[in-house]
Amino acid sequence: MKPTDSTSDADTGQPTVVSDGPEDTFSFETSGSTVEVTWSDRLQDFYEEFIYKPGLVAWDDRRTRIGAVIMFVYLLMGIPGAWFYPAPSTNQVKRGLGPFETLDAPLGSTGSGEDVLGMVIHATPEMLIMVVSGGIFATSVAVLIGTVAGYKGGAVDRALTSFSDVAMSIPGLPLVMVLAVVFRPRDPVLIGVLLTINYWAGLGRSIRSQVLTLREESYVEAARTMGVSTPRILLKDVIPNLMPFVLVNFANAARYVVFASVGLYYLGVLPSSVDNWGIQLENAYSQEGALVGGDALYQLIAPMIAIMGIALGLILLAQGLDRVFNPRVRTRLAGESEATAENEDRETNTEVNI
């Protein structure tokens, strides 16, 4: 056995770890070619990794493709649409126009002369903001709590798990209604957050249990062995593996926000001073008598289609989003050299959360 030589380093108080030992016998520069990494390379890499390839994967799946197209339509409606299309106001057109009668109000008008299409379009931006903020809030809190609880274990885990237990045990919709009455939120970001105020809890629990398994994965252990800091392990080795699940649940949370917000607007629990499909529904239902007379049915149908469309888009997205960050799928689609180890695609279990 060789005598130790690094103890002397320790004695002099020098850091012993970065010893030059290996370089003496094996030079890292043997490859000869020097490698230059420029900023544009990095940008290029970023584009490839986070935009081009996920897009490619998403586009490859029929469901995701349709979902993306639908969501794109809503984006169009929400941004340029709401910008250019005249905002709905009473008596902007003739009262009680049927659908497809005039170009001024392609989908007809209400009994007080509001353009139905305008109402649908102008409800979109707020809805999109709500959906995104709700989705981000729910998933990010879930990820934060789930990963920390799962990874840290012990008392932290117990505390966080009890916390989410309690959060989960509070009936969601009634809670949200109470909060809506208290805060009378108008800001769509706030509404989105409020609606998902305890939606994250269930998600956090499943993320926690996934992290519990991930934490035992050899590559996480390897990272721990290398002395990588916990946040970095979570960020680099744990969370990326949760991404498929998180993305799917982002879409699910977003759909929940659509359903809940429209429902609460419909019931009049959320302040109806903004444009919302739920308010349109309520108006058609109780003011225009869409139920009994049947003349105003189109006023009911337009917002219904808007609601179902966005929900459909989100579900379809969710169906395929889990593949976006699956390296197997993306390499296959990017036409890179194929797997040599095992062949099967690991499909993440798309859990259903309503």
Binding site: T90, R95, S112, S272, S286, Q287, E288, G289, V292
Partner: protein, 563 residues
Amino acid sequence: ANLVSNGNDDNESPRHVSHVNQVPADIQWNSSNPANTPQITNRVLFDPFVKYNFSTGKFIPYAISEWNFGGDTFELTVRDGLTWSNGDDVTASDIATQLRIGLYTGEPYADFTESIKTPDDSTVKLQFDSTVNEQIVTFQILADRFVHQKESEFGTYLETLQNDEQKGLKQLGDFAYQEPIASGPFEHDSVGQEQLRLTLRDDHPDAEKINFDEYVFEYRESNQQAQQALQNGAIDSVFSLFVQTDILKNFPKKVTQIQTPSNWGYGLYPNHSDPHLGDRAVRQAIQYVINRAQVRDNVSPDSKTAPEYPVGIASDNQTEWLGDAVDDFDTYGVDSAKTKQATTVLEEAGYQKQNGTWVDSDGKTVELPIMVPSDWSDWNTATDTVVDQLTQFGFQATKETRSYDAMLGNVFPNGNFVIVAAGWLYGAPQGSFPYFSLYHQLVKNNDSVTYNYPAADSSRGGNRADVTVPARSGSGTMTVNPAERLSELAGSTDESTVNEITIEQAWVTNQDLPMLPVLEKVEQTFITGGEEWDIPKPDAEVAQVQWANTWLPRQGEMQYTGN
């Protein structure tokens, strides 16, 4: 209509099925208990003192067969032969008990009534502490009052009240009267979650005018459900239902709509302590800008009217009371947005338009968040229209919704609003007599709103101050004290004084706009006629009451004719 789709058909006896919008099982008939008091069923179960007829403007004697006004006394005579459903006679002391309880529970006549006596078995005599206007007394004591608190049931509460008012109020307030002893032609039979069944009493004086055995109230929660039930004949009548023009078209022919004035309607209460809405110029500008006819047409031209003059008098009575003076009054534009006038008024008051938005002299934007009960759809539509009209003119108007309960509980009492949608008239039938609505607008509204109108009662945040408005003659100004003038009216028995004060206060209202009238509601009562029921024409005088479907049977005007 009398046969229930999946009910038990052994029930051969003819019946009238009407609509109730409360869960029947939850209803209790003690009107001194604020929880779940009935809105309609009591009108069949109990006899009204008298009935106000809208087309004649007169009271029709009923349970009170005669009444005598004596300046500071008021004498009531109980109808002969009137009995309770347990067989007891309805006596003067039953009526007195009920009126005496009212002294404690804050009935309006409590303010001027000194004592209530029963000189004999059929006479009740109220003694006032001063003279009171006859109309006011009559409305306050007779209108909308029912024979419903039998002494044997309520006497003990009265006793407690007399000994310990607090305790009495609590006990009375907690008493849920579940199996009422009826004074009306129908008595309580059974009640459930879905329906209340009343059966005909043979010993009621008007029993022989009624040829059906049961009066049933079926619960329909929403307007839509009630509409549908009417449409498909599941119910025979609805006492009051907002039905939009389009839907009305689709109703079967046999369904008759009886319209009566509600003397009530959609208006806006400005908060007078708001820097902008406290400014008459802004209120006038708003009133100018609002196109009331357009609002009416957006909501439903059949069930709403646009009042001609923004004064505290119901449309139907405006010409009658204002007489020739009407020409001096400003309409503020019934069917147009008088933007020019609005602009002039505002600019004179130092406001100006910046980037299309009106700002005050300090550069602060005039913000008009109009609060409205969230589940009153017609008012929401009206507000939407108003908001758009105001926005087009350059006000920063928005709609804000609250549940009506929240408004009652929090918004109104605390004055937590800038401008709020609320009823600008007193309501039927009292609203027919201008005093009530003027008082409502200028001094003390019955929604307990704190709105700081200077002339208002202190309990509303005002200090019964004088109000200065341009003189009606066209030059100079006039300063009056609405609170004093109206109490003068209340104590006056002289018709010309009443007229003079009414016009004067209407003028103040018209000029200062303590509230902004927009619409007036037309009550829609529906009764099915056709082959089954023999009912009068919709515009028949006898039907011009609140509500025809509870009154016509007593008059023998609603007869069952066939299957």
